[in-house]
C-alpha cells in the first residue's frame, strides 16, 4: 500500500468536500467508497483520491486557461486587421506532451503497485464462497460447514478470502467500504479479499446488470469482534441439527414449509430438516437476519409476511411464486416458523 494511502484522513476530508460533503447535513454515506474501512478499500481509495486531485487540479487549470484566453482575446468593436496566423510552436507542444507524461508516470507506479497488492489474499484468510443468483447472494464457509444468504458475517480485523462465482448470469460483488468490485462470472471462480478493520455493518450491492431486479440485489457484511464471530460460528453450526423448541404455530408453519401445501422446501433449505431445496436462499438462520429479500426489506413480521405472500411486488421478475393462495393463518404460521429460525 505504501505512501499512497498515508494521510488518508486529510485526503478523505477534502474529497468529501469536493465530492459529497457539499450536501448539507449528510455526513453519513453508508455506501461510499470514499470512507474505506479495510486495507483493500484503503489502497483503492488512496489511489482514487490521488487521481481525483490530479484531475481536479488539471481541470481547474484548463478551465482557467480557457476562460482567460476566451475573454482576453475576445473580438472587440472597432478591431481591424486579422490576427497573426500562428501555425504552432514545437517547444510548447513538447511541453504539454511531456508534462502529462510525467504526471501519468507518477500515477502508473502506484496503480501497478495497488493492482498487485490488492489481488492476492493474505495467507491463512478465512475462505468464503460467494455465489450470485438472480437476485440474491449465497455465502458458504467451506471450512466451517456453514451456508447462509445475503448477510455475510466475518471476523473484524481478519482477512477474508472470497471465491466468487455465479449460478446464472454475471453479477458483481461490491462492498464499497471494504473493496471494489469483483465480478461473479458463471463458469469461473474469481478470487478477491476483504477485511473490515472495525466491527460494523457494511452495505454491499450487485454492480453488474443482471436483469429485472438488479436494483434489488443487495447484501450486508456484518463484521463482528472475533469472539462474537466465533460464538456465532458455534451457534450456527449447532443449528445444523434442525430447529428446536418450536411453538405450536411455528411447528404448524414447519409442516406447511415442508409439505406441498406451502411447497417452500422445493426451493429453500433449512439445515437439519427435510427442506433441502437449492433454488432459493438457505433459510436456516433467516430469523437472525436484519434484512429480507437480499437487503431490500427490514426483517420484521409484517414485511416477512407480505414478502412470502407476494414476492414479485417487491422484487420484479423473481422466480419465487406468489403465496396468496394460502390462508392468513397458514401465512402467519409460516412466518412464525421462519422467525424462529435463529
Amino acid at each position: 500500500m505504501g505512501m499512497w494511502t498515508r494521510q488518508r484522513g486529510a485526503r478523505r476530508g477534502l474529497a468529501l468536500l469536493l465530492a459529497g460533503g457539499l450536501l448539507a447535513g449528510c455526513s453519513t454515506l453508508p455506501q461510499t467508497p470514499l470512507d474505506p474501512k479495510g486495507p483493500v478499500a484503503q489502497t483503492q481509495t488512496g489511489l482514487l483520491l490521488y487521481t481525483l486531485y490530479i484531475a481536479v487540479g488539471i481541470g481547474i487549470f484548463v478551465t482557467a486557461a480557457l476562460l482567460y484566453v476566451v475573454f482576453r482575446f475576445r473580438a472587440r468593436p472597432g478591431q481591424t486587421g486579422v490576427p497573426l496566423q500562428i501555425r504552432g510552436n514545437h517547444l510548447l507542444e513538447i511541453v504539454w506532451t511531456v508534462i502529462p507524461i510525467l504526471i501519468l508516470v507518477s500515477v502508473a507506479f502506484p496503480t501497478v503497485e495497488a493492482a498487485f497488492s490488492t489481488a492476492t489474499p493474505p495467507e491463512g484468510a478465512l475462505t468464503v464462497r460467494a455465489v450470485g443468483y438472480r437476485w440474491w447472494f449465497a455465502f458458504e464457509y467451506p471450512e466451517l460447514g456453514i451456508v447462509t444468504a445475503n448477510e455475510l458475517r466475518i471476523p473484524a480485523g481478519q482477512p477474508v478470502r472470497l471465491e466468487l462465482t455465479s449460478n446464472d448470469v454475471i453479477h458483481s460483488f461490491w462492498v464499497p467500504k471494504l473493496a471494489g468490485k469483483t465480478d461473479m462470472v458463471p463458469g469461473r471462480v474469481n478470487i478477491a479479499w476483504i477485511q473490515a478493520d472495525e466491527p460494523d455493518v457494511y452495505l454491499g450491492q450487485c454492480a453488474e446488470f443482471c436483469g429485472d431486479s438488479h436494483a434489488n440485489m443487495r447484501f450486508l457484511v456484518k463484521a463482528l469482534p472475533q469472539a462474537e464471530f466465533d460464538e456465532w460460528v458455534r451457534q450456527r453450526q449447532a443449528m445444523a441439527e434442525g430447529p428446536r423448541d418450536l411453538s405450536p404455530a411455528a411447528a404448524r408453519g414447519r409442516e406447511l414449509f415442508e409439505s406441498t401445501a406451502g411447497n417452500c422446501f422445493a426451493c429453500h433449505a433449512v439445515d437439519g430438516t427435510k427442506a433441502q431445496g437449492a433454488v432459493g436462499p438457505n433459510l436456516t438462520d433467516v430469523g437472525q437476519r436484519s434484512t429480507l429479500a437480499a437487503g431490500i426489506l427490514e426483517n420484521d413480521y409484517e414485511n416477512l409476511k407480505a414478502w412470502v405472500k407476494d414476492p414479485a411486488a417487491f422484487k420484479p421478475g423473481t422466480t419465487m411464486p406468489s403465496h396468496a393462495r394460502l390462508s392468513e393463518q397458514d401465512l402467519d404460521a409460516i412466518v412464525q416458523y421462519l422467525q424462529s429460525l435463529k
Binding site: 474529497a15 465530492a19 459529497g20 457539499l22 450536501l23 449528510c26 467508497p33 478499500a41 489502497t43 483503492q44 481509495t45 482514487l48 490530479i54 484531475a55 481536479v56 488539471i58 484548463v62 480557457l66 484566453v69 476566451v70 482575446f73 475576445r74 473580438a75 478591431q79 486579422v82 490576427p83 496566423q85 500562428i86 501555425r87 504552432g88 510552436n89 510548447l92 507542444e93 504539454w96 502529462p100 501519468l104 500515477v107 502506484p110 496503480t111 493492482a115 498487485f116 466468487l164 448470469v169 458483481s172 473493496a179 471494489g180 462470472v185 458463471p186 463458469g187 478470487i191 452495505l203 450491492q205 454492480a207 453488474e208 446488470f209 436483469g211 429485472d212 438488479h214 434489488n216 421478475g317
Partner: protein, 628 residues
C-alpha cells in the same frame, strides 16, 4: 439531357428532381446528409425522451413511474438510440454533407452506396425499435444493457424477442456504417481537389479518415459477437453457453474490441468539427495542425489497445489489468495535446461569441471534465470502485454530450447557413446554448457525486438513506433545463426556416472551400474545381501572406457537368437484409414462414444488386448556373 440508354435494369433510373420520390432516389451527398441529419435528430429526441422518463423515475427513492423491466428497456434503448441512431448518424450527416465540399469534390466516390448506407440505417433504426409496439412486459424491447453481456442475453435469461431485435438491428446498422466508412476513405484518398495534399486537408477530413479506419477495424469484431449471439439464440449454438463449454467473458472481449474504438468513432469527428469552428470564429489558424493530425491518428491506433479497461473487475488478474491501465493512461497524452492546441488556437485571436463558438468553447470545457474522469478510470485498482457506478455514467455523458453533442450543435450553427441558406437566429441561439450548457451540467455533474457515494448504474430504484436523494433530484431538474434548451434550438430552426434564404456564401469569414460556393450550394457543388495551394486556402486567398498563391478556381468549366443519376436500387438493396433479419426474428417466433422470408430477403438483395449493376449510367449533364 438525361442519358436514356437501354439497360438490363428492371427499374429505370428515376429522373424526378423534386418531390418525395426524388428524395427516396437521391444519390446527392448533400440530400443524403440532410436525411441523416433530420433522421438522426429525430432519434436524438427519442433517446432524450427515454432519458427524461428515467430521470423522472429516479428523481426520488422508490418511485414507480415505470416498471423495473420498462426502466431496463429504457436505459438499453436510450444508449443504443443515442449512440447508433442519434449521434453517429448526426456525425454522418456532417461527413456526408461536408466531406466533398471540404475537399473540393462534386460528390462522394460511390453516391449510390452512400444512399444505401442511409436507407439501411433508417430500416435498422426502425427495426431495433419495433418491439415498443408490443410493450416491454414480455421482454420484446431490448432490456439487456447497450453492450448486451452474455449470458444475460441467452434465451434462458432473456426469453422475449428484445435481444433478437437488438442483435439483428445492430447488424443492419453496422452494415451501413461499414459501407459508409469505405466510401469516405475512397472519397478522401481519391477525390481531393488538385493540390490538396493530405497535410493540406481540413482537419475535419482527417478525423473522418481516421474514424472510417476505426470503423473498418472495429465493426467486424462486434459483428462476429452479434452473429455468435444470434446463432446462440436462433439455432441453439453454444458460444456463450457456460454449461456447454462456452465463455461469457469471451463476448466481452469481442464487444469491447469494438466498443472502445466506437467511443473514438463518436468523438474524433466531433473533435474535427470543433477544430474547424474554433479557427473560423477566432479568426486564427488551427494551432499545431500537424500535431493535431498525429494525435488523431495516434488516438485511433491506441483506441485498439485499451479495450479491457472496460473489464477491470472481470477477473483478468493484476498483470493484464496493469497493462491495460498503462495503455489507457497513454491515451490521455494525445488527448491533452488537443485540448491545449484548441486553447492556443484562440490565443491571440479575435474570439467572436457566436452560438457556434459558444458550443465549441462549451465543448472544450465539458470534454475536459469527461477526459479527466476517463483518466481516473485508467487506474485499475481504483477503477474497481468507480466501475458500473454513476461516476462512469458521469464520464461518458461528459464525453458524449459535453463532447460529441456540443460539437454537433456547434457544427449545426456553423454550417446551417451553408446547408439551408439561412443564418440561425443568434439571440435564440445564445438562449439555447446557455440552457443546454447549464442544463447539461446540472443534470450530469451530480453523477460524479452519486458515483462516489456508491450508486450503481442501471438500477431502476434505490432506497432512501444512502445519501443519494438530493443529487438525483438536482439531476432530474437539470434534464428539464436541458430539454428547454433543445426546444429553444428547435424553435430557432423553425423560425429561421420561415425566413427567406438570403445567407451570403461566406457569412463567418471562413477558411475552407465550402465557403467559396453559394449558400446553399448548387447541386454540382463547384462550378469549377478549385486548385488548392495552402491549408486554409480560402482564408489565405482572402488575406494573403506574402506573394504565395493560396487558391485558384481552376480553368473555366468547359461543357456541362455530369451528375450521377438518382436510383431506387439503394433503398431496395437496404430492404433485402432487413427482410432477411425479420425472417431470423420469425425463427425465434416459431413462425412457419420464417425461412421463406429469409429467402425472400436474399432474393431482394440479389435483385437489387442486379438492378444496381445494370441500371445504366443515368445521370444528367448540367450547365453551371442551371438548376437548383
Amino acid at each position: 439531357m438525361a442519358t436514356a440508354a437501354k439497360t438490363l435494369g428492371f427499374i429505370p433510373r428515376p429522373t424526378a428532381q423534386t418531390g418525395f420520390w426524388s428524395w427516396v432516389a437521391t444519390v446527392d451527398h448533400k440530400r443524403i446528409g440532410i436525411l441523416y441529419g433530420v433522421t438522426g435528430f429525430l432519434f436524438f429526441l427519442v433517446g432524450g425522451l427515454e432519458a427524461w422518463v428515467m430521470r423522472l423515475q429516479l428523481a426520488r427513492p422508490g418511485l414507480e413511474v415505470v416498471t423495473a423491466r420498462t426502466f431496463n428497456a429504457l436505459f438499453t434503448m436510450h444508449a443504443t438510440t443515442m449512440i447508433f441512431l442519434g449521434v453517429m448518424p448526426l456525425l454522418a450527416a456532417f461527413m456526408n454533407y461536408l466531406l466533398p465540399l471540404l475537399i473540393g469534390a462534386r460528390d462522394v466516390a460511390f453516391p449510390r452506396l452512400n444512399a444505401f448506407s442511409y436507407w439501411i440505417y433508417l430500416f435498422g433504426a426502425i427495426f431495433i425499435n419495433i418491439g415498443w409496439l408490443k410493450g416491454t412486459a414480455g421482454g420484446d424491447v431490448p432490456d439487456i444493457g447497450w453492450f448486451g453481456y452474455a449470458n444475460l442475453t441467452s434465451v434462458e435469461f432473456s426469453g422475449g424477442l428484445g435481444t433478437d431485435i437488438w442483435t439483428l438491428g445492430l447488424l443492419l446498422l453496422g452494415l451501413g456504417t461499414l459501407v459508409s466508412a469505405f466510401n469516405f476513405i475512397v472519397t478522401i484518398l481519391n477525390m481531393r481537389a488538385p493540390g490538396m495534399s493530405l497535410m493540406k486537408m481540413p482537419i475535419f477530413v482527417w478525423t473522418v479518415l481516421v474514424t472510417s479506419a476505426l470503423i473498418i477495424f472495429a465493426f467486424p469484431s462486434v459483428t462476429v459477437a452479434l452473429i455468435m449471439l444470434m446463432f446462440d439464440r436462433a439455432f441453439a449454438a453454444n458460444f456463450f453457453e457456460v454449461a456447454a463449454g462456452g465463455s461469457v467473458v469471451f463476448y466481452q472481449h469481442l464487444f469491447w474490441t469494438f466498443g472502445h474504438p466506437e467511443v473514438y468513432i463518436l468523438i474524433l469527428p466531433a473533435m474535427g468539427i470543433v477544430s474547424e469552428v474554433l479557427p473560423v470564429h477566432a479568426r486564427k489558424m488551427l494551432f499545431g495542425y500537424s500535431v493535431m493530425v498525429f494525435s488523431t491518428a495516434l488516438i485511433g491506433f491506441m483506441g485498439f489497445t485499451v479495450w479491457s479497461h472496460h473489464m477491470f473487475t472481470v477477473g483478468m488478474g493484476p498483470v493484464v489489468n496493469s497493462i491495460f491501465a498503462l495503455t489507457t493512461m497513454a491515451i490521455a497524452v494525445p488527448t491533452g495535446v488537443k485540448i491545449f492546441n484548441w486553447i492556443s488556437t484562440m490565443w491571440g485571436g479575435q474570439v467572436r461569441f457566436t452560438t457556434a463558438m459558444l458550443f465549441a468553447i462549451g465543448f472544450i470545457a465539458s470534454f475536459t471534465i469527461g477526459g479527466l474522469s476517463g483518466f481516473m478510470h485508467a487506474a485499475a485498482p481504483s477503477n474497481t470502485q468507480q466501475h458500473d457506478t454513476y461516476f462512469v455514467v458521469a464520464h461518458f455523458h461528459y464525453v458524449l454530450i459535453g463532447g460529441s453533442v456540443f460539437a454537433l450543435f456547434s457544427g449545426i450553427h456553423h454550417w446551417f447557413p451553408k446547408v439551408f441558406g439561412r443564418l440561425l437566429d443568434e439571440r435564440l441561439g445564445r438562449w439555447s446554448f446557455w440552457l443546454i450548457f447549464t442544463g447539461f451540467h446540472t443534470f450530469a455533474f451530480p453523477f460524479h457525486f452519486l458515483g462516489l457515494m456508491g450508486m450503481p448504474r442501471r438500477i431502476y430504484t434505490y432506497a432512501p438513506g444512502l445519501g443519494w436523494e438530493l443529487w438525483n433530484l438536482v439531476s432530474t431538474i437539470g434534464v428539464f433545463v436541458l430539454a428547454a434548451g433543445v426546444l429553444t434550438f428547435i424553435a430557432n430552426v423553425v423560425v429561421t426556416m420561415r425566413r427567406p434564404a438570403d445567407a451570403p456564401a461566406d457569412p463567418w469569414d471562413g477558411r475552407t472551400l465550402e465557403w467559396t460556393i453559394p449558400s446553399p450550394p448548387p447541386v454540382y457543388n463547384f462550378a469549377t474545381l478549385p486548385v488548392v495551394y495552402l491549408r486554409d486556402a480560402f482564408w489565405f486567398h482572402k488575406y494573403p501572406e506574402g506573394k504565395e498563391k493560396a487558391l485558384d478556381f481552376g480553368s473555366p468549366q468547359t461543357g456541362p457537368i455530369h451528375l450521377p443519376g438518382p436510383s431506387l436500387m439503394p433503398i431496395l438493396l437496404a430492404l433485402g437484409p432487413t427482410v432477411a433479419a425479420a425472417g431470423v426474428l420469425f425463427i425465434r417466433m416459431r413462425l412457419s414462414y420464417a425461412v421463406p422470408v429469409i429467402v425472400a430477403g436474399f432474393v431482394i438483395t440479389l435483385l437489387a444488386i442486379w438492378g444496381w449493376a445494370f441500371e445504366g449510367e443515368g445521370g444528367a449533364l448540367i450547365e453551371p448556373g442551371e438548376g437548383d
